[in-house]
Subunit: 117 residues, 2 copies
């Protein structure tokens, strides 16, 4: 499941729309659901648009894994950080990602642990 | 959503099968999914059987909420404890519970934070 988190964060870090769409097509299900405090969307195009909007809000920032991934039965919980590359994250979030039998992301339940004050 | 967690833990604490079935029928969807490190089940009867099995494993123990509930868009994350009533929990777990539009529990993604050594 570390691979799933790697793929998940790679999608969030893909600022080239073509690359992002490829990652969505390869690693997310068609009917994928993504819900965090600021978004409640379904389907690859909507997830891609959500990611693009966040990237636009934080230009140059990157997503990285924070701490360990805890996983079982195709579901993983982990923290991620968003900030300038190599620096302390400005935002820290927490997600539970659920995959289907083909290891594709089908459901993401996100929460925020640290937001800019 | 505090209500959802209250209903959720009430179901886990219902040792009378009739009461447990009533709570499942009232507050869980028919196709509810429950996945934790030791269980991966779907439907009220299977969830009820899972709860009964855990109760049988820890007779006299009760589930209680630990800390605050963080909720948005019909999904909640929170910790729970399992132990003798009024005492320090022996087991601490963490769940993300997702509800449908009628506030019924339809998806539970569980993890364990503390297990007996």
């Amino acid at each position: 499941m570390d691979t799933i988190v790697t793929r998940y964060l790679a999608t969030w870090n893909a600022t080239d729309p073509a690359v992002r769409d490829e990652l969505l097509a390869a690693h997310w299900t068609q009917d994928c659901v993504y819900v965090d405090p600021l978004a409640d969307v379904a389907g690859r195009p909507a997830v891609g648009a959500t990611i693009a909007a966040v990237q636009g809000q934080f230009p140059g920032f990157v997503f990285s894994q924070v701490g360990e991934v805890d996983t079982h039965h195709g579901q993983a919980r982990f923290q991620w950080g968003l900030g300038p590359a190599g620096e302390e994250p400005v935002v820290i979030g927490f997600d539970v990602v659920v995959t289907d039998d083909d290891q594709r992301i089908r459901d993401v339940r996100g929460f925020l642990d640290r937001v800019p004050g």
